[in-house]
Amino acid sequence: MKKIQLLLLFVGFNLFAQKELPNLSLNNLDGKSVSLKTEFAEKDKIYIFSFWATWCTPCIQELDEMNDVQEEWKKSVNFEIVAIATDDSRTQKRVKPLINGKGWDFKVLLDTNQDFKRYLSIVNIPYTIVVKNQQIVHIQNGYVPGNENELLAKLKSL
């Protein structure tokens, strides 16, 4: 019974949930601090934050795919992809060579102690959020091939 109460409560939260980006700074690959609040604030521009890790194969599949299609997409939508590496210090050093090795063409930020991930209560990656005017307007939990087409349709509707 109590569990049901709990569930009801949390359904209640859903009704007025509105999330904005945290006031958090993450390092980029050169070790420079980047503020989520000020760096990704261009009016009406869409930012796709994709949470991934070097050891997560579907994440890498997704980002490979996004890298292939982003030039094409940019013709119709004003957007930018930001890859948030949730790698902890075990695998973080692999991020830079992997990205260059892959030839990915987007901004990468390091969420070393997973503050950003924890703030958003992310349980599993890949996990993608779409942000417009600092508000999270769409969430995609997980990735299977083809999700990028859905995402593009969503971006066009924003």
Binding site: F13, P97, N141, G146
Partner: protein
């Protein structure tokens, strides 16, 4: 449970009443993992007393301008999943915090997660799959007066179960952005200094030969210039009682500890190489000494992951190296005072249109890792040692990895892996034997339509001893962007004992919509280590039905 509901109601009503005001944000997440353990006679399974168990986490936050308040309730009913720390028991408030943050200061009271440098001295983090939540309860200040300087100060007591320890943890960390001070354009250079103190009075030892407070210091440097980068960290931990076995704090075996971590690499478009060296000597660090070597990673202070490739295939995760920071002089065949070794990674992209790249390109990833026990002179039965700084003792683990990813056309993509492992169980697990393995794995993804695809994986492991050969296969069918179903089997067909030639099959499905994911699984769990980020938890063999759900709001 009542407490949680009470807090929820308060948060809820505050949130609801403040709805009209702008800028008030209410958000959080919910995760639930439940398992119904079934009885099977052919697996070596002891049927638990409470066969239905569930781990649940509800995290709620309220944000107004620079202020954020949060609370996490956790529920383990009737008990936590098998082999979780039994201190995770029933339902209660687990963590809470209030934080104020602006451009120069960040103040937190309550539970918080902090990491200094690479975490070799101190890291608090949460990993629900491993049952780790070692947050500190106390206060934290982060002060960033200019772009090139950050000061952190923390004080707290560490979370253990739904309680905190009796010991006190202090820490401070400075970081200087040298390249910002000197306005270097193309070079990044920063240095950092940390101090961590752990103050624990040992009531069981009336007149200890070591200080209550253990002091630990670290210095680090980080450098990047164009495609080149390098970093190093050195850590020192003051003299403290060595704990060879859990709960056995010895007043006669007192040693300091230290660590060195060096990383360097070079990368440019289509190519990357990275090398890491690490040496750990007596670096186990817990908020209570007696917790050293406990199997649940309870009260762990620092983050000492194994520096090897994090494997993605099932069979490559049977013989997993675990970092060996601690001391154990069990007898003349097991002499451990730490580890020394490293790994090298190489990534290469064969360009589209080249001979090996083909029309869509080919990606190559290589990894080599090699870890040894620290070499030196060991004195038994007196229990003492003198290590050589670059002394490579007995080999503990070696691994070669080759991984090739190839996109054939718009529909077909495949991946091939070869892994060769040397696993010294006697030294790593303190059991017996050395296992040598070869693993071959291949996987292919085929897209039927833009949103429908299938992924098929085949794996084989050859092992010369222990449980010997395994074969495994997985098929995953993504019906549409919302629904996936899968089936897999791992078969230990090579086991010398015909009774132990088990199948570990699993079938299940997952449903995803926006921020919600629900997965249902029926099958069998192989007993062994579940590892996330180089830290592992042992899980027993089991079979049953599991349901997991996570969502954010």
């Amino acid at each position: 449970m009542k407490k949680v509901l009470f807090c929820l109601s308060i948060l809820f009503s505050v949130g609801a009443s403040a709805q009209e005001k702008e800028k008030l944000n209410f958000f959080g997440g919910f995760e639930s993992n439940s398992q119904w353990y079934l009885k099977y006679t052919d697996l070596n399974v002891e049927h638990p007393k409470h066969p239905i168990r569930s781990n649940n986490y509800l995290f709620l936050n309220l944000k107004y301008k620079g202020w954020t308040a949060g609370i996490q309730g956790e529920s383990y009913e009737d008990e936590a999943l098998l082999n979780y720390n039994p201190k995770y028991n029933k339902t209660d408030v687990a963590t809470y915090f209030v934080q104020y943050k602006n451009e120069t200061v960040d103040l937190t009271a309550g539970y918080f997660y902090e990491q200094f440098g690479s975490g070799l001295l101190m890291r608090q983090w949460e990993d629900r799959q491993l049952g780790i939540n070692n947050a500190l309860r106390g206060g934290r200040i982060i002060f960033t007066p200019t772009k090139w300087f950050t000061l952190k100060g923390v004080y707290g007591r560490q979370r253990t179960g739904f309680d905190v320890t009796d010991s006190d943890i202090y820490g401070t960390d400075f970081e200087f952005g040298i390249s910002d001070i000197f306005k270097m354009e193309t070079t990044e250079l920063s240095i950092g200094l940390s101090y961590v103190g752990r103050d624990e009075k040992m009531l069981t030892i009336p007149d200890p030969n070591f200080a209550d407070r253990t002091d630990a210091y670290a210095g680090r440097i980080n450098f990047a210039h164009k495609g080149y980068y390098a970093s190093a960290e050195y850590d020192y931990k003051s003299k403290d009682a060595v704990v060879e076995k859990k709960e056995e704090v010895k007043n006669t075996f007192i040693k300091p500890g230290n660590a060195l971590l060096v990383n360097m690499g070079y990368s440019k478009k289509g190519f990357g190489i990275d090398g890491t060296f690490r040496r750990l000597e007596n670096m186990s660090f817990y908020s209570e000494r007696a917790a050293n070597k406990n199997q649940f990673n309870d009260r762990i202070m620092n983050f000492l992951p194994s520096l090897t490739k994090q494997q993605h295939y099932n069979l490559a995760n049977i013989y997993v190296y675990q970092a060996q920071p601690g001391v154990n002089l069990a007898d003349n065949t097991v002499l451990k005072a730490g580890e020394i070794g490293g790994q090298i990674d190489l990534f290469y992209n064969f360009k589209k249109g080249s001979a090996l790249g083909g029309k869509h390109g080919t990606k190559l990833a290589l990894n080599y890792a090699d870890w040894h026990a620290l070499g030196g002179d060991f004195y038994l039965p007196k229990k003492d040692y003198n290590t050589d700084y670059f002394g490579f003792g007995k080999r503990m683990f070696t691994e070669y990895n080759v991984e090739v990813t190839k996109k054939w056309n718009e529909k077909w993509q495949s991946m091939f892996s070869y892994i060769n492992q040397y696993y010294n169980a006697k030294l790593i697990e303190e059991t017996y034997g050395v296992v040598k393995t070869n693993v071959l794995a291949a996987e292919g993804t085929y897209k039927f339509t833009a949103t429908r695809s299938i992924r098929i994986v085949g794996e084989h492991l050859w092992a010369d001893t222990d449980k010997k050969n395994w074969a495994a296969a997985t098929a995953e069918f993504n019906i549409n962007p919302k629904f996936s179903v899968y089936g897999s089997d791992m078969y230990n067909y090579g086991n010398d004992d015909p009774e132990m030639q088990n199948h570990y099959y699993n079938v299940g499905g997952a449903f995803r919509r926006k921020s919600t994911r629900i997965a249902l699984n029926y099958g069998r769990q192989r007993g062994g280590l579940v590892c996330v980020g180089g830290v592992c938890r042992y899980v027993p063999e089991s079979s049953g039905i599991s349901l997991s759900l996570n969502t954010t709001f």
